[in-house]
Amino acid sequence: MELAASRLIAADRAAVWAALNDPAVLQAAIPGCSELTGTPEEGFEAVVTQKIGPVKATFRGAVTLSEVVEGESYRIAGEGKGGAAGFAKGGARVRLSDAEGGTQLDYEVEASVGGKLAQLGSRLIDGVARRLADQFFDNLQAQLAPDVAAAEAEAVEVAEAVDEAEAGKETKGWFARLRS
């Protein structure tokens, strides 16, 4: 599974970089993460509970940072073992750059799963990975710039509601008009 995307975070580059190296922030941002200990230099130990398709499991594993360019980019890699549920492993290259309104974060993720997760959930991995990445950056945004995040979250909710209401109609709702 491979995934690449960009996000605009409403915070300056130094703040985003600090957040990406702070175990407390990372723990709060990683969906389902109940424990994250360690340091950027020594690596982290993480406990994450996730549900992928029919498989729900608690993954324990090590997360390491490498190819670190201070304030600019790193590679984050990890492997989580979920017992009978199987395992997941992967990595992401994360790059920060200054942008209007904050910091642009580009990431490329590659991930693979094994054991029961592969047997039952392999078809679902792409969708799950996308959802988890979105959640992670939403959470990160929420930590760095709570006000902006809250507004965006509300907007998304409204947008979804509107999209449902508008399904099949030609005319655009107020939010869609606003966006275009």
């Binding site: 009978a84 395992f87 054991g115 029961k116 047997q119 039952l120």
Partner: protein, 790 residues
């Protein structure tokens, strides 16, 4: 006229009464006092080195009795392979050890590494989760061609390569075949894949073992098609338990399809663990475990070439196949792509020169072994596909091309260029029959009607040969079998005339309890209800080789006929004594012994009672009692054949294939129970159509099994299948067994995949998609649709 009794009658399946009322006794229904449960920790990676195993936490968990690793089986043998293939250079195959629990390395996802025996299943599973296994992952060997590269990682470090063997057949013909190709008017070449399948019997595997310390003896209840074979393989080769101390019981078994022939690690584990723990140990496979531990089927990659003259006569055939063995050699794995496959490459045709090359390859996947048809579906598929392609290329009707090359009725017995001798057959007759059944001559009108609805209609034909009734022991011994392939029966007549037949065959859905009783009832002339068929327990049945390869009625039935003839011969002696007549004058008819030409007679029960209450009995000449055992070793294989036709409609918008009709005209020789034969064909067709349209086991590049459940592995359902037309009125009886029977269990799965694929290609071609000359199975909508878009 249809009979209502004995051979030829469609007697209702007596076993169905208990199956349909929930009273079947399957292995999982057995529970023993003090029983414990085992959970296996299985490898989640396809290939890796085991660095450490920490079981301390698991051992301390509630209910845990013992935790086992490979070290506990250090003195045990590996799971043995029952067939040794010699390669085309005269060397024997590479044969790696197959440990009960992974030893040093893991070689496929699902391989058991650690086993936990606990009071309850939940406790065993929880403890298995607490075991820490550190594995250094190694690159997985997945692609068969890449596996043969010089620098490919090796599945087995102690072997020279991933090549199990390189088999050539008939090696002496190789040069002559090449010359024939050089001279040929036309050569048709086809590259194809015979898709990997997961057998999926309805009942998953189960093993329950018990150790009796007082008698130092073991009992294993297991889901097996051949309990004696398991007793021999496990007792003699893995655990060193002599046969008289080991009883193997295979009670009601819910389908096997080959996957329950083999001796599996879990059987040996439970048997050994029962002794070490001192209590019965039970394992019931989950469906997920079945997907990654039952031997898979098929998985061949083939190039086939057919050389023809200007009239379409086949001059020579050449094939080049890569056969996946998986990570270890399952019990009969090496026989499948070789002797069960190469010997059938003549098909129904007079092709004079044939050369088959098969490279068997180890990969980091579940072992592959025989699955319904075993080698013969692979042979039939490639042959019937290449003939269809040749017909199209040469502009000859595919039915006509087959007819031109058929072995003719007067040519039997027919020596093929690939070792076997077909005793009987009439392929023109089965082809005539299927053409009639399908109203082939009006196909064009039906196609036009489909076209008017925007659908592409196609007609596919296939004609198969198979070799059943495996097999003459002396012949298979020369070919590398490490077992004999006779069958046995004991006919025990009770004092009042009822009979129990103990057969070495094993019924796991085939209906032996009904058909075998029909044969004995017919021979003696007593009601079928007087006869009971017992099977599946090494404690009371004579040494038998079990059920697979459509061998039960041809080999097991013949053993039973032999034993019954011994009974009749002795009963006539007793009757002669009772009737004060000479033995030669005694006739047996309708359960009555009479003196020829007189009205003096004694009925069956009068004779049987005399045998067990020998007050008026020739004791000085004849032993009391009436019980006989016979072993039957066939002198040849049997050769069922048949013509299959399939009509499909393809939706050009979605690529979805719908089977509109399927007709099977089989020649099974004599038929004991037409209803059961029809049911066997139905089941085989469902599996063959499943392979053609739906089923495939998929691994990713890292060796993860992606089709590990019914969410991703598509089994055929009722609405995927048409109403079948099944006919077995073309009968050329087998010439060398007493019943004249050939066997019917696998035919449906052998003949149907090429018929379906030929029909779909025909639909696409007639629909204007001329570029589509082949599609690999399964013909899913996405594959068919994508092919149409080019």
């Amino acid at each position: 006229m249809a009979r209502d009794f004995g051979i030829g009658a469609s007697s209702k399946r007596r076993e169905d009464v208990r199956f349909l009322t929930g009273k079947g006794r399957y292995t999982d229904d057995f529970n023993r006092p003090g029983q414990t449960h085992v959970a296996f920790l299985r490898s989640q990676v396809a290939h890796g080195r085991i660095l450490s195993i920490n079981t301390a936490a698991a051992e301390a968990m509630p209910g845990v009795l013992q935790v086992f690793t490979a070290a506990d089986f250090a003195d045990a043998g590996g799971l043995p392979c029952g067939w040794q293939v010699t390669d085309r250079f005269g060397n024997v195959m590479q044969e790696p050890k197959h440990p009960v629990l992974a030893d040093g390395k893991v070689r496929h996802v699902g391989e058991p590494i650690v086993a936990v025996v606990a009071e309850t299943l939940d406790q065993a599973r929880d403890a298995a989760e607490a075991i820490e296994v550190e594995i250094e992952e190694l690159p997985a060997v997945m692609d068969m061609r890449a596996a043969l590269a010089e620098d490919a990682p090796k599945v087995h470090d102690d072997l020279t390569s991933n090549l199990c063997f390189d088999w050539g057949f008939v090696e002496e013909n190789k040069a002559k075949v090449g010359e024939a190709f050089a001279r040929a008017h036309h050569v048709t070449t086809l590259d194809l894949i015979n898709n990997r399948l997961v057998p999926n019997p309805m009942e998953p595997r189960v093993a329950l073992a018990e150790y009796d310390a007082a008698g130092d003896s073991y009992t294993l209840y297991t889901t097996s098609q051949n309990p004696h074979v398991i007793r021999l393989l496990m007792g003699a080769f893995v655990l060193n338990i002599p046969e008289h101390r080991l009883r193997v019981v295979a009670p009601d078994v819910g389908g096997g399809f080959g996957a329950k022939i083999y001796h599996y690690a879990e059987e040996a584990f439970c048997t050994r663990a029962a002794q070490m723990v001192g209590r019965p140990v039970k394992w019931t496979s989950t469906r997920a475990e079945a997907f990654m531990s039952d031997a898979h089927g098929r998985d061949h990659v083939t190039r086939i070439e057919l050389a023809l003259d200007e009239n379409g006569k086949f001059l020579a055939l050449r094939t080049d196949t890569l056969a996946n063995m998986g990570a270890y050699l399952s019990t009969f794995a090496p026989a499948v792509p070789t002797w069960l496959h190469g010997t059938l490459m003549a098909g129904n045709y007079t092709t004079p020169l044939i050369y088959v090359n098969v490279k068997a390859i180890f990969t980091n996947t579940v072992p592959v072994d025989a699955y319904r048809g075993a080698g013969r579906p692979e042979a039939t598929y490639q042959l019937e596909r290449v003939i269809d392609k040749a017909a199209r290329e040469m502009g000859i009707d595919p039915i006509e091309l087959r007819r031109r090359n058929f072995i003719q009725p007067e040519q039997f017995p027919y020596q093929t260029p690939v070792a076997v001798v077909y005793d009987t057959g009439n392929y023109q007759a089965t082809m005539d029959r299927v053409v009639e059944m399908t109203d082939y001559h009006n196909f064009e009108a039906r196609r036009a009607e489909s076209a008017a609805r925007g659908k592409l209609r196609g007609f596919g034909i296939a004609h198969y040969i198979e070799a059943c009734g495996i097999a003459p022991s002396n012949l298979v011994g020369q070919l590398g079998a490490r077992a004999g392939l006779y069958e046995s029966a004991t006919v025990r007549v009770n004092a009042t005339g009822s009979i129990t037949v103990f057969t070495g065959s094993h019924s796991h859905g085939q209906g032996h309890e009904t058909t075998f009783a029909q044969v004995v009832a017919d021979m003696i002339g007593i009601p079928e209800s007087q006869i009971e068929i017992a099977h599946g327990d090494t404690a009371n049945t004579p040494m038998g080789m079990g059920t697979y390869g459509s061998r039960s009625i041809a080999v097991g039935g013949s053993a039973m006929v032999k034993a019954t003839n011994k009974i009749i011969a002795k009963a006539k002696k007793i009757a002669a004594h009772l009737l004060e007549a000479s033995e030669g004058d005694i006739e047996l008819k309708d359960g009555k012994f009479s003196v020829a030409g007189t009205d003096r007679s004694v009925d069956w029960s009068g004779v049987t009672l005399a045998a067990y209450v020998p007050h008026n009995y020739p004791l000085e000449d004849l032993e009391p009692g009436l019980e006989e055992t016979a072993f039957y070793d066939p002198s040849n294989f049997t050769y069922p054949s048949g013509a299959y036709a399939c009509e499909v409609e393809v939706d050009p918008d979605t690529g979805k294939v719908e089977i509109l009709s399927f007709a099977a005209a089989d020649d099974f020789g004599n038929v004991i129970n037409p209803m059961i034969v029809e049911g066997q064909v139905h089941g085989g067709l469902a599996q063959g159509i499943g392979q053609a349209l739906l089923e495939v086991a998929v691994y990713d590049d890292e060796g993860q099994l992606l089709t590990g459940s019914y969410m991703d592995y598509a089994m055929p359902r009722a609405d995927d299948l048409p109403m079948y037309q099944v006919d077995h009125s073309c009968q050329t009886p087998c010439t060398h067994n007493p019943l004249g029977v050939k066997g019917c269990g696998e035919a449906g799965a052998i003949g149907s995949p090429p018929a379906v694929v030929n029909a779909v290609i025909d639909a696409l071609q007639r629909g204007g998609h001329d570029h589509v000359t082949h599609l690999d199975m399964p013909l899913t909508p996405s594959r068919v649709w994508a092919a149409m878009q080019r």
